[in-house]
Amino acid sequence: MEDGGRKVSKQVKQLDRVIIRFAGDSGDGMQLTGDRFTQESAVFGNDLVTLPNFPAEIRAPQGTLPGVSSFQVHFADHDILTAGDAPDVLVAMNPAALRANLGDLPKGATIIVDTHDFTPRNLTKAGYAENPLEGDSLAEFALHPVDLTGMTVEAVKEFGLSRKDAARAKNMFALGLLSWMYGRPTESTVAFLTKRFAKVADIRDANITAFKAGWNFGETTETFVVSYEIKPAPMSAGVYRNITGNLALSYGLIAAGVRSGLPIFLGSYPITPASDILHELSKHKSFGVTTLQAEDEIAGIGAAIGAAFAGSLGVTTTSGPGLALKSEAIGLAVMTELPLLVIDVQRGGPSTGLPTKTEQADLLQAMFGRNGEAPVPIVAPQSPGDCFDAAVEAARIAITYRTPVLLLSDGYLANGSEPWKLPDVDDLPVIDPAFATDRNHTLDNGDEEFWPYLRDPETLARPWAIPGTPGLEHRIGGLEKGEGHGNISYDPANHDFMVRTRQAKIDGIANSLPPLQVDDPSGQAKVLVLGWGSTYGPIGAGVRRVRKAGYHVAQVHLRHLNPFPKDLGEILARYDKILVPEMNLGQLSMLLRAKYLVDAVGYNHVRGLPLKAAELADAIGELVSQAENVNVNLTVPAQEALS
């Protein structure tokens, strides 16, 4: 490369995987930067997993530790399962971003710092007594202090922006630099910026110029002498896109509407981290999707129940605190036996808890958080892309069995992303709403009546007769029903029968579930790791580490939490030790212990972040050691340790 007459020799190194964390002030555009880098990597063909991490405050005080927002992307030339435990590269836009993330970096990690904000004032705000860029406190890292802001302002000066506006393009400069360093294709980002700032030409041009300047800086400067190549990952043939969990879930709901022929009715109240589903569905009215932003959580589900009674696929979306408010209405849907989807994108609790952080602590609320015996089926997606299939499956159960269904996503799935192989729309299940059209009961005198609680003998589902259907006029409600005719009944024996029947209907859903997939390649494992939801990635990565070190371990991941699949008990009985990793204090463990009388061992963290694969591997190793009575050493050459 020619640079002012000097030859800068650039070396290209092969890597199999890299974890980069972009960190800055919550106003610095780090989520956008990470998202663009992710899109570039997806288009390039790497496998990838992302972990956005941001404060609940929209604009926390500038330059402070609570205001730091970050986006971690893990990309590789092979199939990966997590966003990675520790970043290989940290891009820190200010002192607070450096300080907040330094503790997560392993020795030897690369740090790229924007030196511009390392002023005495900002250093103080971040809690630094001395400038860490001076002295040797960062000696164990590969530190690259670069004036990203200064160079950005210089690069875009031709557009005549204010200094503040010019400096705002620094995130694109950083993106350009990282894109050069890892050989990312740049076309999609240029196209994105062109579209995003189409109406403000100078901002558009400044961002594109900053992005290109960052790339060129990497290519010409002597600061960076190495660039890296991470080859595309082998994936099964098909068309892919990168997708977040909330987007995949929204598409899954639309798909369920198309495949059932039912209009979708979403009643929802905005709540982090579920609001994106409301936003997304509100864009798709052409599919017959109605979205009502209700006055509160209860009205959201109330309207969805009303729409379900009227023949729509009723949906309500929320997070933990909202689910608590919806409890009574879910009970009404249980009693009236109407199809309904209740989507809980879980976040840290209790109470307001950690709105922007992830957790799995609503399982028992979903299971039992209602008065009376009110069983509700529960399904959970295991990855961002899997939210699509989970939504379709939840709709299948709701419509087939005339029941509310709880779908438990979480903040990590909602905002995290992964490459997603597009499903063939024709292969998606067809869901038959099978509305009632005729009277179904003959009286002794020969007269025909409609009995709203006369059940299908196989599924125990009641008929769904919607207003406008002549001859099927009927009343439903929250009071106990008489079996069959559905009139109010206070009869003791009838109540006992109806309570058991509602339970039997939900239990019977297990008859429609496929056998569990047991991942036990050697067939010799004595330890089974059983999980649900977004822990799929860390569990899979932990299991791989243990196997890579030469030990046997089996893995099963549950899509259905209620009812459990029929073969779960038999599978649990096959293993000596059961490890149940969860981002709660042992809620699935409690259910397993109660139902199967097994000694499930919990592995529990509630840090608001995904479980770490390395720590999980140690916990699995410990159980393997006990089960097989051997010493377990998981240390393998770093090069071979897949993640």
Binding site: Q39, V43, G45, S188, M235, G238, V239, Y240, R241, N242, Y251, I254, A255, V258, F265, G267, H284, K285, S286, F287, G288, T290, L292, A294, I298, A299, G300, G302, A303, A304, I305, G306, A307, F309, A310, G311, S312, G314, E328, A329, G331, L332, F388, L422, V425, D426, P467, G468, T469, P470, G471, L472, E473, H474, R475, I476, G477, G478, N487, I488
Partner: protein, 370 residues
């Protein structure tokens, strides 16, 4: 002039009716067809019986297909109402009927949607849903049975009970200042707000007709006597000796007068502007010129006068109350507009849903692995 007059046209001239998209019946109907096979279980003498009879008698007059009528209720004595009507119905949970009805009315333009609620259900536990239904103007009719007491839970004070009410939960008298349901509905942007009485079947029926014909949320407060826990609460407006002085009849286009009537049907008292407060007040007709008498205009786009009239309702023991249609104005309904947005989006999107679904999920940046 009689109190059964309401004075307004059904619906407002030139406007869309609340039931114009609901299929009609080609055969005459009877009240019996609207009577379900369930035994009515209100207390003897309950005002709810009269309202049920009036509704069962009135529904055939609408001429709608029975299967296209839906009654939704919450919890309370009045909320048992749907069980006794042979239409589609849902007896839901406490206070939430307006939200459920919002879902039904928005999902289906071909249904006539009714909410039956009480003063506790609508104004206490469900107050939020009531005001938001009114502001959205969802096409439904809300019948609020106001007996100024909690009946089903056996006699606690309600949000419309007078201050000082001695009940099981307020042995030294209640401290809560009551809501005036009509004032509340007007303040919540209600487009149709009326008040009627359980025992005046003709007036009740005429108000129900106007409410059904109104496109948007029709709010009807029905004074209803609870003979067990609050008997006599409305005696002043029901007793033949006192009702002329107690009821202020609102008839669109007529001067508002009440009290002993002269040979022309003009009452001894009338409403005039109160220049001091900007509101309205009662004056002796003999003391004022005829031009000073307030002529009722239910169609007034400005709700201020309707609100001022609603304030003439006693908040303590009821010795005086305006009765009739306070307000009936046109405003676009939430559900019509929501459906219009969907039609517009649909019309702009060519292709089958299946093809559009494939295009949707394949949108954004994609790449192909071979």
């Amino acid at each position: 002039m009689s109190t059964t007059d309401i004075g307004t046209d059904l619906p407002l001239p030139g406007l869309r009716s609340g039931i114009e998209l609901v299929p009609t019946n080609d055969q005459p109907q009877t009240g019996k067809e609207y009577t379900s096979d369930q035994e009515v279980r209100w207390c003897p003498g309950c005002g709810d019986y009269a309202v049920l009879k009036a509704v069962q008698g009135f529904l055939p007059e609408l001429g709608l297909r029975r299967e296209n009528i839906v009654f939704v209720s919450g919890i309370g004595c009045s909320s048992r109402f749907p069980y006794y009507l042979d239409t589609y119905g849902m007896h839901s949970i406490h206070g939430r009927a307006p939200s459920i009805a919002t879902g039904i009315a928005t999902a289906r333009e071909d249904l006539s949607v009714w909410v039956v609620t009480g003063d506790g259900d609508a104004l206490s536990i469900g107050g939020n849903h009531l005001i938001h239904a009114l502001r959205r103007n969802v096409n439904m009719t809300i019948l609020l049975f106001n007996n100024r007491i909690y009946g089903l839970t056996k006699g606690q004070y309600s949000p419309t009970s007078e201050v000082g009410k001695v009940t099981k939960s307020t042995p030294m008298g209640s401290l809560d200042h009551p809501f005036n349901p009509v004032s509340l509905a007007l303040g919540a942007e209600g487009s149709f707000v009326a008040r009627t009485i359980d025992s005046d079947r003709k007036h009740l029926t005429s108000v129900l007709s106007a409410a059904a014909a109104h496109r948007g949320t029709s709010f009807v407060e029905i004074y209803q006597n609870c003979p067990i826990f609050n008997d006599g609460a409305f005696d002043a407006i029901k007793n033949n000796d006192t009702k002329a002085d107690a009821i202020i009849p609102l008839v669109h286009g007529e001067p508002i007068t009440f009290g002993v009537q002269d040979e022309n049907g003009v009452g001894s008292k009338g409403l005039i502007r109160d220049t001091e407060t900007g509101g309205v007040k009662v004056a002796l007709v003999a003391d004022v010129s005829p031009e000073q008498l307030l002529v009722h205009n239910a169609y007034n786009p400005d709700p201020s006068t309707a609100f001022a009239i609603s304030r003439l309702t006693d908040s303590g023991y009821l010795n005086q109350s305006p009765i009739g249609i306070f307000r009936q104005v046109e405003r676009p309904t939430y559900d019509d507009q929501a459906r219009a947005q969907i039609s517009t989006a649909r019309d702009a999107a060519p292709g089958t849903p299946q093809d559009r679904l494939a295009a949707l999920i394949g949108g954004g940046d994609t790449w192909t692995v071979v």
